[in-house]
C-alpha cells in the first residue's frame, strides 16, 4: 500500500465516488468481442478496461514443452503503455510475471486440462486502462473468454477484491483507495463450490478485519459471477459474430 492521504477517503460513510463500503463499482462484461480469437471478453470495471482472449486448445511448439498427460495453460497479463498515469515500458515486469502466475494457478483449477494432452491453451489479458483491481478484472475476463472459446470447464472463476480504507473494511478498491488505503485483498472464487483459488493480501489487517474483508470479497465475487453468466447467455442468444465493446 502506498503513502498516507492528507484528506479522508470516507466521509459520512460514503467513499470518494459516492459508494457505500460494501458496494461494487459499475461493471460491464461483454463476451465474444474479438473476431480472430477463439474466445474473448471485455470487462469494464469502474475505470478499468480489460480485454482477454483465448487461443486453443492448439498444438504446442516446441515439442519439448508439451505435457503428454494434459494441456499446458499459458497466461499473460499485460498492461498497455498508456493504461497508467506514467507511461509503462512495454514488456513483462516482475509484477506482471507474478500476476500472470497466480491467475494461471486459479484458472488451472477449473479447466479440464487433461482432455487435451500435448496441447496449449493460451489466455492473454490486456489491461487497456488501469484503476486498481486489474488482476481481478483480468481473471474475470479470462474466465469468460475461456467459456466463450468453448474450453471445457468445471465452472467460472470470479475475481473481486476487498480492502481497508481509513480503518474501514470496504469492497472493491478504486485507485485513490489503493494508493492511500491500508490494505488490499484480491480474491479468485468459485461460488458454486465455495472455493478460493486466488488469494493475495498486503497491508495491515487485524484478524477480524481480515475475516470481514474476505467475506466482503466473497459476496462481491458472487455478484461478478452472476454478471459473467449473463454475459455468456447474452452472447449465445444474440446472433452477432462479435459484440461491440469499446
Amino acid at each position: 500500500m502506498g503513502g498516507k492521504s492528507s484528506t479522508p477517503l470516507i466521509v459520512k460513510g460514503k467513499r470518494l465516488d459516492g459508494r457505500k463500503p460494501e458496494e461494487l463499482r459499475p461493471i460491464k462484461i461483454e463476451a465474444g468481442v474479438l473476431n480472430r480469437a477463439d474466445g474473448s471478453c471485455y470487462v469494464e470495471w469502474g475505470k478499468n478496461k480489460v480485454i482477454a482472449a483465448v487461443y486453443g486448445p492448439r498444438e504446442l511448439h516446441p515439442k519439448h514443452l508439451q505435457d503428454n498427460t494434459q494441456a499446458v495453460l499459458r497466461c499473460r497479463y499485460n498492461m498497455a503503455p498508456f493504461s497508467v498515469d506514467d507511461r509503462k515500458r512495454p514488456g513483462p515486469d516482475r509484477r506482471s510475471v507474478e500476476i500472470s502466475k497466480v491467475i494461471r494457478e486459479a484458472l488451472e483449477r477449473v479447466v479440464f486440462l487433461n482432455y487435451f494432452p500435448t496441447s496449449a491453451i493460451d489466455v492473454f489479458m490486456e489491461v487497456l486502462q488501469a484503476d486498481a483491481g486489474t488482476r481481478c478484472a483480468a481473471l474475470t475476463a479470462a474466465s469468460v473468454a475461456l467459456a466463450d472459446a468453448g474450453v471445457p470447464m468445471r465452472d467460472l472463476v470470479a475475481g473481486c477484491a476487498a480492502g481497508k480504507v481509513d480503518g474501514t473494511v470496504v469492497l472493491d478498491l478504486m485507485q485513490e483507495e489503493d494508493n492511500y488505503g491500508e490494505g488490499d485483498l484480491p480474491l479468485g472464487y468459485i461460488p458454486s463450490k465455495d472455493e478460493i483459488v486466488l488469494l493475495q493480501m498486503d497491508g495491515d489487517f487485524t484478524k477480524d478485519e481480515f475475516k470481514t474483508a474476505l467475506n466482503y470479497a466473497i459476496k462481491g465475487a458472487k455478484k461478478i459471477y452472476a454478471l459473467q453468466k449473463e454475459a455468456l447467455k447474452r452472447k449465445y442468444t444474440t446472433n452477432k459474430e462479435t459484440a461491440k465493446w469499446i
Binding site: L34, N35, R36, A37, S40, K47, K49, I51, A52, A53, Y55, R58, R76, N78, A80, P81, F82, S83, V84, D85, D86, R87, P90, G91, D122, F124, E126, L128, Q129, A130, D131, I246
Partner: protein, 258 residues
C-alpha cells in the same frame, strides 16, 4: 507449407484476375472505417480506437517530460511503438517486438514525423533541458490485414484528441494545460500487388496472397513516407499510379478525421 493458406491464395488470385475481391470491394475501395476518440479517457492524454473492417487498433498517447535530443534542443520528442499483442491473431506471440512490429511502428512514425503533424517546436519547456515527450503506443487488438493504415489512422486520431498536461515544480500534473499543437494530417494508404493487380487496403487473406506491398503516406499535397514490402516487385508506372490514387483517396478519408 500451409495447405489452407495455399488454397486461399489460389482462390484470391483467380478472383483478382476476374477483377473481383473476396469481400466484393473495388480494387481502389477501402473497407469501412470507424473512429472513436478518447477511449482511454482517464489515463491517456490522447487515444483512439479504429476499426478498418475487422482490423482493430487502439492507440494511446502519453505525455511526459524529458530532455531533448542534443541535436534538436528546441524541439519536443516523439516516439512511436507498436505491440502486436497476442490477443489479435493466432500468429502473434508474446515476447519482444519482432521485425513486423518494428517496421509497422517505424512506418507510422515516419509519416507523422515527416509531415510535421505535431509542432514539436511548441513542446519546449526550457530549451535544451526540458521538453514534452509524446509517446504514441499502438496496440493491435484484431488483425485482419493492413495494420499500417489502421495504425496511422489510430495514431493520427489519438494525437488529434491529445492534450498537454501541466508541468509545475518539476512535476507533471495530469490536468489539461492546452491542446497538443497539431498542424497537418498525414494518412497512409497501403496497396497489395497480386499478379498484376493493385488492391487498396488488403484484408489478411489478400496479404497472404500478395506478391508485394506499397504504402504511401501523404498530408494531401505532399508525400511524406513510402515503404515497399514483401518479395515481389513494382514497375515504376505502378508506383506513379499508386501515388495518383493516394492523393484522391486522401480527400475521402480525411473527412473522417475529427
Amino acid at each position: 507449407m500451409d495447405i489452407n493458406r495455399e488454397l486461399k491464395r489460389h482462390f484470391i488470385g483467380r478472383l483478382v484476375q476476374d477483377g473481383r475481391r473476396i469481400d466484393g470491394r473495388g480494387f481502389d475501395e477501402m473497407r469501412e472505417i470507424s473512429i472513436e476518440q478518447n477511449v482511454i479517457p482517464d489515463k491517456a492524454e490522447g487515444s483512439a480506437f479504429v476499426k478498418l473492417g475487422n482490423t482493430e487498433v487502439l492507440c494511446g498517447v502519453k505525455m511526459d517530460v524529458g530532455e531533448p535530443f542534443p541535436d534538436t534542443p528546441e524541439e519536443g520528442v516523439m516516439m512511436t511503438g507498436a505491440e502486436l499483442v497476442p490477443i489479435a491473431s493466432p500468429e502473434f506471440e508474446a515476447g519482444r517486438p519482432g521485425e513486423d512490429a518494428i517496421e509497422l511502428a517505424r512506418v507510422v512514425d515516419r509519416g507523422i514525423r515527416e509531415s510535421h503533424m505535431i509542432s514539436l517546436d511548441k513542446l519546449v519547456i526550457s530549451p535544451g533541458e526540458r521538453v514534452w515527450m509524446v509517446f504514441i503506443d499502438l496496440h493491435i487488438l484484431n488483425h485482419d490485414g493492413n495494420l499500417i493504415d489502421a495504425s496511422t489512422l489510430a495514431a493520427v486520431s489519438a494525437l488529434k484528441s491529445a492534450w498537454v498536461p501541466k508541468f509545475e515544480d518539476e512535476k507533471v500534473i495530469r490536468e489539461k494545460s492546452s491542446d497538443l499543437p497539431i498542424s497537418k494530417i498525414p494518412l497512409s494508404f497501403t496497396y497489395a500487388k497480386i499478379d498484376d493487380a493493385i488492391l487498396l487496403d488488403p484484408i489478411l487473406d489478400e496479404e497472404f496472397a500478395m506478391d508485394a506491398r506499397l504504402t504511401v503516406t501523404t498530408s494531401g499535397t505532399h508525400l511524406h513516407a513510402m515503404q515497399k514490402g514483401e518479395t515481389g516487385a513494382f514497375k515504376p508506372e505502378e508506383v506513379f499510379n499508386i501515388v495518383d490514387t493516394t492523393f484522391s483517396k486522401y480527400k475521402e478519408v480525411k473527412k473522417l478525421i475529427k
